[in-house]
């Protein structure tokens, strides 16, 4: 009988275990490749990343509809709903690891970044086909859809900020909402606020809501950059006028305390807690108020963003469905996106989601008679393209992501810097960003 020493036994088993571990991945690949019979391979597979929104009904409807479409068309669907605050990170990781889905929802910023690096398919044919089938795209949606340089996304739910006003409080002060200008917002706030109810519930912090100040600045005639989108033009008298408006309002105590460090839900919380007369919001506050505080919802006036002394800037964000170039089955993904644009589904979906109509056909839906959706219809009809009057390019998106305008305001109201010095610093910091893209 052959004697096996303990050392030899250990050595052999360790080597075998190591070899098994090293070989397991390859083995699995080989087995899976061989095991899949041709008949199974014919059933298409599709992974869809949907953008999670505040309405559970809308999220469930999207998931169920895609899965039902899969069953009807012999497609094995997997729907993953992604928190929209995390889409950027998840997509970044997926691109790097080669695990992008077959189709996904996204906003314009991400669409622009991914288009520039060739990660998204051009969808001109599909865009035209869907537009022709449903009465054509709204002009503002159409303009926004082409901002990425190529049509790499099919718009489905344009959104944007509306001005929410406390009708009861303003009427008690003898004022009739909505205010027509940002100066009205400031004056009315001063007239009607009674702390802890403050007037201007607008974020001045380093979050997406803080970048509303870019639109206000533009409505005062200020510009982020020149028409070529390469040279920052913040240091102008128009920016000074805007800065005097916003910092003056802060000095008058019209912003709720905390507005300089609010997170993304800061304005929502302030409005729902009865601490703000005005907020700018895409509609999530309406959903929350309708459910938890119907009286507050009934006392709210919804309107387009006010105008500045020079123009009204009310940008729309065309949320789109896109197809990564990495998909192995673009035709199936296109078929799904085309299906999701159908009138029946969109009518049900828009009943529970706070979006405006992307296509003319949708405007006839009854939901667009309701106050918030009517405001969104108005936004789509009269709103401005993202970034307008500035050029919406990657430098503009980077400028926004660095919160240069809200930080310019913070430098005055938090650090006590002069308006001129704050503008000068923002001009330099902004140019530093734009120079990266030259």
């Amino acid at each position: 009988m052959t004697h096996i020493s303990r050392r030899r036994f250990l050595g052999t088993t360790t080597a075998a275990a190591g070899a098994a571990a090293l070989g397991s991945t390859r083995l699995t690949e080989m087995l899976s490749a061989k095991a899949a019979p041709a008949v199974l391979q014919e059933k298409a597979k599709l992974t869809y990343w949907g953008g999670l929104i505040f309405s559970d009904d809308a999220n469930n409807l999207l998931t169920d509809t895609i899965n039902q479409w899969g069953e009807d068309n012999n497609v094995d669907t997997e729907v993953v709903m992604i928190n929209q605050n995390e889409t950027n990170q998840k997509v970044s990781a997926a691109v790097e690891s080669g695990t992008m889905p077959d189709a996904l929802d996204m906003g314009l910023d991400l669409q622009l970044l991914l288009t520039n690096t060739g990660q998204l398919m051009e969808l001109d044919d599909l865009y035209t086909k869907i537009g022709d089938a449903h009465g054509g795209w709204y002009a503002s949606v159409d303009a926004a859809a082409k901002l990425a340089g190529a049509t790499t996304g099919i718009p489905f739910g344009p959104s944007g900020n509306l001005l929410f006003s406390r009708q009861d409080v303003l009427e008690a002060a003898g004022l009739t909402p909505p205010p027509a200008t940002w100066q009205d917002v400031r004056d009315w706030s001063k007239q009607a606020q009674k702390p802890p109810l403050f007037g201007m519930g607008l974020a001045l912090s380093n979050v997406g809501d803080g970048n509303l100040q870019m639109s206000v600045l533009q409505s005062y005639g200020g510009r982020i950059a020149d028409d070529a989108g390469t040279t920052v033009t913040l240091d102008t008298p128009e920016t000074r006028t805007y800065m005097e408006w916003v910092t003056g309002a802060f000095a008058d105590g019209l912003f709720p305390p905390g507005a300089t460090t609010w997170d993304g839900a800061g304005d929502n919380t302030a409005y729902l807690a009865g601490q703000a007369i005005f907020i700018a919001n895409t509609g999530s506050v309406h959903l929350a108020a309708a459910e938890d505080d119907p009286e507050l919802d009934a006392n709210t006036n919804f309107a387009a963003l006010p105008a500045g002394p020079v123009m009204q800037v009310s940008p729309i964000n065309p949320n789109v469905r896109a197809i990564p170039t990495s998909t192995e089955d673009p035709d199936t993904a296109k078929a799904l996106i085309e299906f999701l644009a159908n009138k029946d589904f969109m009518e049900q979906y828009l009943n529970v989601a706070i979006y405006g109509p992307a296509l003319n056909e949708y405007a006839s839906f009854a939901i667009f008679q309701e106050p918030v959706h009517a405001g969104l219809l108005n936004l789509v009809e009269h709103g401005t393209a993202p970034g307008a009057p500035d050029v919406y390019n990657t430098a503009y998106a980077d400028f926004s992501a660095n919160f240069i305008v809200p930080k310019m305001v913070q430098r005055v109201v938090v650090d006590g810097l002069s308006v001129d010095d704050a503008i000068k610093e923002a001009q330099e910091q902004g140019q530093l960003i734009y120079d990266k893209y030259k």
Partner: protein, 306 residues
């Protein structure tokens, strides 16, 4: 008498795998899995991040070598200088306060108190609580309208105004430090408590007989026994605090006006535009300071060992 083999034959017959060599090879074989793990999970990502920081890499595009451009850009941004200052302030002040509270409580909990076990468990609560819950609670406490701290001040008649603790330059960083210390000091306390229990009681008795008062006993008996633990805890806690993200992100997002901006949050902002090179440069910029700290502390520990 058997003839002995010639000397060169003895050398020639000696097996290549001697006992010592077999042991050495076996030792290396046992170390290989650990080496693979260290290289794969620690060294590779670390050096890869350093490499990326010298490239123009963005998500989906490998980019190219750009030398120090990312660091040059970073040094010109208004946030960078404040980030360095804030990170140092956060780490140093938090460490000092954690040392003070951690050691103080450990000394108290080392005494023969009634319900000592319960108090020891109680001290661990902030450490056991998930970070995001802890810092959201602190954010609520510091909220200007309806926040716990302002409510206490107004109810006691001390101050009726809406103090914006997180929105003012003078109070934002102290507020973040308070929350960070609250969450982190139990680790210090428990580490010190464990070390205190290894101090032989005879030493205290001998010191007492020699006429040493409480302060002298602490300085001459307790502190020397704690020195190594203090060094290790300072090292670990400094690294954790310098890398901490959720305390700042959940309370201030680095604001107001970058008053609480620290490296991890700055790197996160860099990632928003998918510019991996820039984001990596932010993280790498913090490495030299941490390396100096690690070097200093490990040198001190080795000196203690000697």
């Amino acid at each position: 008498m058997a003839a002995s083999p010639p000397a060169d034959r003895v050398v020639h017959d000696r097996p290549f795998l001697t006992f010592a060599r077999r042991n050495a090879i076996w030792g290396y074989l046992l170390v290989i899995p650990a080496m693979i793990l260290l290289i794969g999970l620690v060294a590779y990502p670390f050096f890869y991040a350093i490499y990326i920081s010298f490239t123009s890499r963005i998500v989906g595009d490998a980019g190219h070598w750009i030398g120090l451009d990312n660091f040059r850009y970073l040094s010109k941004t208004a946030s960078f200088e404040k980030t360095i200052r804030n990170t140092i302030t956060l780490v140093v002040v938090s460490d000092v306060l954690k040392l003070f509270f951690g050691l103080g409580l450990a000394l108290i909990l080392n005494e023969q108190l009634r319900a000592r076990g319960m108090f020891r468990a109680f001290v661990l609560l902030p450490w056991a609580m998930p970070g995001f819950v802890a810092f959201l609670v602190w954010r609520l406490l510091f909220t200007p309208i309806g926040g716990g701290i302002n409510l206490i001040l107004s109810e006691t008649g001390i101050d009726n105004s809406y103090i914006d603790w997180l929105g003012q330059k003078s109070t934002a960083m102290p507020a973040v430090i308070i929350a960070t210390v609250w969450r982190g000091f139990p680790f210090w306390c428990i580490s010190f408590l464990a070390a205190l229990q290894t101090v032989p009681p005879e030493l205290y008795e001998a010191a007492k007989i020699d006429g040493a008062n409480a302060v002298q006993r602490f300085r001459s008996v307790t502190l020397p026994h704690l020195r190594q633990v203090i060094l290790i805890v300072v090292l670990l806690s400094s690294i954790w605090t310098a890398n901490s993200f959720e305390n700042i992100w959940l309370m201030t997002q680095g604001g107001p006006s970058d008053a609480t901006m620290v490296f991890p949050v700055l790197a996160y902002f860099g990632m928003q535009t998918q510019r991996l090179g820039e984001a990596a440069a932010v993280s790498v910029a913090m490495v030299p300071a941490l390396l100096i700290l690690v070097f200093l502390v490990t040198t001190l520990i080795e000196r203690e060992d000697d």
